[in-house]
């Protein structure tokens, strides 16, 4: 396992319209690991994802926040993406009239250019896309549909994972990728995420259910509550949460 630290944040706080949502998040993620962040609804998990991805509109402060050694907070969202920090959205956004394959290619080439590489030729690119489509058990017709327009919940999530497989981030952040999925779709999504595992890549799964973690076993589990991580542990923490609920952690922290 690589020792490289992909993401390191300390005291990350965020407020929107004067309301504090993140209250000092400490997190360190090494390459080659899978982290799970679990917590009840409204605890600020999605805000953490958005803030890490660079969403505007939040007042963000931190003792430090580093992505691959770079100061994260001044980076624009597209810079973060180009450096390898990609967020799989809880609610993937519809872009009417823009073909899925067009966005994939625009994104793929933006990332290549950022790395100083040449843009992919059409043949090379389509070969890659077809391979990843098969992995996600997606039909080629997906490519010619407008981005997320009229996609079912499951299709949207599979499409997010497909983007990850093609764009190969250093840090893949999944915001509730399991919500709204039936068991078959969940399995395909989980397989996709497992296929992403690599020694030079970190994966962070934000979820409040255990079932995704049965398919994608995490190395580290964090419990999120009221805007910060209140407890971290190994996989067994999932079991404890499952049997005792979040309330148990909350009380323990309070006590």
């Amino acid at each position: 396992m690589s020792e490289e630290i992909v993401l390191e944040i300390k005291g990350l706080a965020a407020a929107i319209e004067g309301k504090r949502i993140l209250q000092g998040v400490d997190l360190r993620v090494r390459a080659g690991t899978v982290h799970a962040i679990m917590g009840p609804n409204g605890s600020g998990k999605s805000t953490l994802c958005q803030v890490l991805a660079g969403r505007a509109g939040y007042e963000v402060t931190a003792e430090f926040a580093r992505f691959l050694g770079r100061d994260l907070l001044p980076m624009a969202p597209e810079e973060r993406a180009r450096e390898g920090l990609l967020l799989s959205f809880q609610y993937p956004v519809e872009i009417p009239g823009v073909k899925n394959v067009y966005l994939l290619k625009a994104a793929y080439n933006a990332l290549r250019r950022a790395r100083g590489e040449q843009e992919a030729d059409a043949f090379e690119f389509m070969t890659l896309v077809r391979e990843k489509l098969r992995a996600m058990r997606m039909d080629e017709s997906f490519l010619h549909r407008a981005v997320n327009s009229g996609f079912s919940g499951g299709e949207k999530k599979r499409n997010e994972v497909l983007q990850m497989l093609i764009l190969e981030p250093k840090l893949a952040l999944f915001d509730e990728v399991d919500s709204g999925l039936d068991i078959d779709a969940l399995r395909v999504v989980a397989e996709g995420i497992n296929a992403l595992r690599a020694p030079d890549r970190a994966i962070v799964l934000v979820t409040h259910y255990r079932r995704l973690l049965d398919y994608v076993p995490p190395d580290v589990v964090h419990v999120f509550h009221e805007g910060r991580i209140v407890r971290s542990g190994d996989r067994s923490l999932v079991e404890t949460l499952e049997s005792q609920g979040y309330q148990w952690v909350v009380e323990e922290v309070a006590g």
């Binding site: 597209e78 009239g97 290619k105």
Partner: protein
């Protein structure tokens, strides 16, 4: 940041055609009366019927009032302060060949991206170049003439084909149609003329490039396109003007006539100077465009990309007279800064089984006001007529406006008329999502705008897709996959 930043960038795009050509021009003194019209007609050596036609139109115009029902605010126009004729000095006759055309004019069109030289000409596109009040060159005319296609300036058509002009001029837009059409009929100076004979499929895209250059003049051009039985022609007009602090009037008339089984596709890329960010200057674009599907099974399509002008007042329409004839209107209208756009179409169903489609995409940014105004009228004779209208508005920022004024009049119970309308904002969500996939905010806005306009862009002639791309600063869809 996010949306705000990208929108500012997008909105800041500069007008790239604002230069002035320094060239000696013959300009009539400002003012309009019968004497000016006589002088204009004499200057153009017109036959008597043209002068009479102009004078009749002028007398009608004097009885008419400038219309103000459009959603546009502007100070009164002083019609006596405008010069009604401006032409580069080039001897008495129009140059016989490009070698005789003033190099400054050739250079102007070169800078506008419409080279006229034999070597540099756009492949597959014949161009008529109109500079202020006159046509200065028409390319590929001999090649077209081989198939009997007439493509020339309006002045030449009046001289060389008076019978065609006499027969069709004003037959779709009569001089008394409206205030601006009457003014145009009285003072129009040049424009393009197209005749495609029976059964001929025009092998080239025909194009007119309109350029306003002179100061304090109006441009009043007239275009007449006749597609004889079973013929096909695709035509495109482009327009630009220098950046000036004063407003300039452009009141054009376009008439299209499609006989039995003929098809006319008329595309416009309108990029007149829109004025500056504060709304100073810019062209008043008050245009009457109408096509008549006179014969059975004929078809007329209007495709317009409107990005320029301080005020746009324009409703390219179709009169569907022939049985089973088809009218189409595909429009993208982009308003920025303080531009005011009032545009749309009229589909008049007269013949049995006539069909029409209206796809209108309005984009508003800055403080622009963008209105769609449309009429779908089904007469009692139009058994089984069908219309589908889709009218979408996209808002960028919160200080602009989008308005929709659709009118539907159906006098035949078998008609089917559908209307759909949407208004959306470029969502911060969309921009953020695309940024999170590595796209710059500008590229993200362009991608969203491009997706929004796709149904219209898909109908533009291939040759002009690139021009529109540059114009809208968008990357065109469909390049991959």
């Amino acid at each position: 940041m996010g949306e705000q930043f990208s929108v500012q960038e997008w909105v800041k795009r500069e007008y790239r055609y604002g230069f002035v050509t320094e060239i000696a021009e013959e300009v009539f003194p400002p003012g309009l009366d019968e004497e000016v019209i006589r002088r204009l007609s004499a200057r153009k050596e017109e036959p008597e019927f043209m002068l009479e036609w102009r004078l009749a139109a002028f007398r009608l115009w004097q009885q008419m009032k400038e219309p103000h029902w459009a959603r546009a605010v502007y100070p009164p126009i002083d019609y006596q302060a405008i010069s009604y004729f401006a032409a580069p000095k080039m001897g008495k006759d129009r140059p016989k060949s490009l070698a005789e055309v003033d190099p400054k004019l050739l250079e102007t069109y070169e800078r506008l991206g419409v080279p006229l030289h034999e070597r540099a000409r756009l492949a597959g596109v014949a161009v008529d170049a109109v500079f202020d009040s006159v046509s200065v060159a028409t390319t590929y005319r001999e090649k077209l003439a081989e198939q009997g296609i007439i493509f020339c300036s309006f002045s030449e058509a009046v001289r060389d084909h008076p019978e065609l002009v006499h027969r069709y001029l004003g037959s779709v837009v009569p001089p008394g149609d409206n205030f601006f059409a009457a003014l145009n009929a009285a003072v129009f100076s040049d424009g393009s003329f197209v005749y495609v004979p029976k059964g001929v499929r025009c092998p080239l895209e025909l194009s007119t490039y309109f350029r306003i250059n002179a100061n304090e003049t109006g441009q009043f051009e007239r275009t007449l396109i006749i597609a004889d039985e079973g013929s096909y022609v695709s035509y495109l007009e482009g327009c630009t003007a220098p950046m000036r602090d004063e407003n300039q009037l452009h009141a054009a008339v376009v008439e299209l006539i499609a006989l039995e089984g003929a098809e006319i596709k008329y595309s416009t890329v309108q990029n007149w100077y829109p004025g500056d960010a504060e709304g100073r200057g810019g062209i008043y674009n008050f245009v009457t465009k109408r096509g008549e599907c006179r014969g059975a099974g004929s078809k007329i399509s209007w495709i317009q990309v409107e990005v320029g002008s301080a005020i746009t007042w324009k409703y390219p329409s179709c009169v569907l007279r022939g049985e089973g004839s088809v009218g189409e209107f595909y429009s993208v209208a982009v308003g920025n800064h303080r531009q005011q756009i009032d545009s749309g179409t009229k589909m008049i169903h007269i013949g049995k089984g006539t069909r029409s489609t209206i796809i209108s995409k309005g984009i508003s940014a800055g403080r622009a006001q963008n209105s769609y105004r449309g009429l779908v009228k089904v007469l009692p004779s139009a058994e089984g007529a069908r219309n589908y209208t889709q009218c979408d508005s996209l808002l960028i920022g919160s200080r602009c406006g989008a308005h929709t004024y659709p009118t539907i009049e159906v006098a035949n119970p078998t008609a089917v008329v559908e209307h759909e309308a949407t208004t959306s904002k470029i969502a911060e969500d969309q921009i953020f999502y695309l940024q999170q996939r590595g796209l710059s905010p500008e590229d993200a806005v362009n991608l969203v705008v491009n997706g929004f306009c796709k149904e219209v862009f898909n109908n533009l002639p291939m040759e002009f897709a690139v021009e529109v791309e540059a114009l809208m600063q968008v990357t065109l869809e469909g390049a991959v996959g």
